[in-house]
Symmetry: C2
Amino acid sequence: MEAGFEFISSGTITTPGGFTAGATHAGIKKEESLDLAILASEVPCVTAGVLTRNQIKGAPVVLCQQRLAGGKAAGVVVNSGCANTCTGEQGLADAREMAALAAETIGAPPEQVLVASTGVIGQMMPMERLRTGIKQISLSRDGGHEMARAIMTTDTVPKEAAVKVNGGGYTIGGVAKGAGMIHPDMATFLGFLATDARVDPGFLQSALKEAADVSFNMVSIDGDTSTNDTLLLLANGRAGNDVISSGTKQAEAFQQALDGLCIHLARAMARDGEGATKLFEVAVRGASDRAAARQMARTVVSSPLVKAATYGNDPNWGRILAAAGRSGAEVVESKVDLYLADICLLKAGRPQSFDHAEAVKHLNKTEVTFTLNLNLGDGSAVAWGCDLTENYAEINSHYTT
Amino acid sequence: MEAGFEFISSGTITTPGGFTAGATHAGIKKEESLDLAILASEVPCVTAGVLTRNQIKGAPVVLCQQRLAGGKAAGVVVNSGCANTCTGEQGLADAREMAALAAETIGAPPEQVLVASTGVIGQMMPMERLRTGIKQISLSRDGGHEMARAIMTTDTVPKEAAVKVNGGGYTIGGVAKGAGMIHPDMATFLGFLATDARVDPGFLQSALKEAADVSFNMVSIDGDTSTNDTLLLLANGRAGNDVISSGTKQAEAFQQALDGLCIHLARAMARDGEGATKLFEVAVRGASDRAAARQMARTVVSSPLVKAATYGNDPNWGRILAAAGRSGAEVVESKVDLYLADICLLKAGRPQSFDHAEAVKHLNKTEVTFTLNLNLGDGSAVAWGCDLTENYAEINSHYTT
């Protein structure tokens, strides 16, 4: 299954057949930018979702929970600027009305429309603006690009891509908005994926969960715990392929492509962390198991100390070890190897002499990778983040230099 | 046991009888400031310790673990500028030599001297400077003030205090250095406490653990997980009181005074967070149990979003609720009450109309308190932090205004 998929140039969520989208500036955000979008499928879709685990959930999340349990979806309406969270019964009614209004545009029953919102918590949705805005939206085949922009909050660039599975006859596309990373304000993660593949519902859900676990959930430490985090995958089956079910070669190819698309979007999110100058990758190998590797990779990549040292081009490996030690995952100091790109900084817990200039050169790149080998088992994981810059970093980044 | 203790003016760790201290600039730190200190008791002390739970431990922590298990201590040697962590066997040998050198000054066997270090990880202790430095230290009865300064890293003011137990005939004094809070660089927490009370060893250890749990462990989220965190309490018995044992009124008075002293030092740490303009207190009441209350109070007080809103004088209660919801502790949205000082922002999960100007006035104070009442049980806890300022806050603090 090597090279089982490839990225499609200028791909987005409406690249797969049978999907359209559109967006408008409804005035929910103060800025003069797109803040309301609709995704539509020409036929109802098998749908999967991964939603926040926060005990305080936005009204749109509650609605998605109900509707994902209920059956197929024909589209999604999403806004930025207002989270519709801590808004009680009225908030839930507003989310339902958003779905009903969008359903008219989509041409589907209201209960087949999912809702997602990101923005301020504790304010009611400005429904008048929303009602007017939804009517302004016209759907088109390349509307995915607009949708990608409409969900942005502190993001500086839209995140969108699509992949084509070789020999599969179908594509998967998606758009996402990132958590603030450094400043987890509006830290809601939103991700919407669409495919024209025919997929078994049970497999679609497990495939989405797995893809989220190796991508979005390895970027944003707060991302999986914000009140409104929402990841949806709609499969409309328009490609007419044989239904993809668990345990088959086709399932493997689908998973690989879905993982690849999600990792691409997740890396784009990490790279766009507020104030960030570089993408920062932490790989953990040889952990006692996968859960331990994931836990440690996430802890290290989100350590303000490590992030600041990365910004300061300071090969301060002690901070990485300290973060690894407090992650809760097993680590034995005398067994740890640590690499910056291919430069060995620590071997079996012993500091190695290394070419400092060469290390700084690697740290100066726009993508920096540290690899921890714990030499305890075969668990591995990769996490992504960004460096910490400006005032925050000023004090921290040159401590050892 | 009301008003069971009072603070002593200009109190410090050497306020209790029979303790001396001194410090010097040994050149371990680059700055021209004190970086090496010794605390000495004229007689060996019953000693308790609370040490880091990080799996990567500094050599001084390993030495303290061994010696606390072994018996009495007559003093402590402590330095800032080098953590002596990830330094292998040589690091442990260096820590032992530090103790032996200090033991000569103290006039005690080397194995009765404890060691603590804070600073850069992964660098060897500059032993030549240390050997020279230790000889320069002269101990005096008011040397606690020098010790308080010698352990500072990014701290802007020394933290020291002493309390007198009414009718107890003894005092307890202490010095501490804080974690960076916002910038957890050199985030090692060091706290040293001394008392001239006679205390049962088992009770002393449990009393110190309890005091740490309601004070230092409620300030610094990283504080209990840095590689070198060390809290020591030496009791030399010189006051000649009856031995204080668990379950007595005397034990209660001792605990109350020790808690008060530690909370005082912990609040001073929080107030001195890097860049902070105010002390920020989060009280959780009515949690299902104490552990849940502690977990939630710590999560909320360390939320960058909440901290930034506090700096921006923005009564953005949604952020507090979102942080509470992701803390892992049980919360039921429809039961939560939230107060800023005595202003009710949320009652049974419903936003209350409040005087915005009055709320901003409270947020403008140098001490800001939020109280969450979960109305689920009788667990309660208080945590302290500081606001997030400058560039870090710029983007976040005015989001809803």
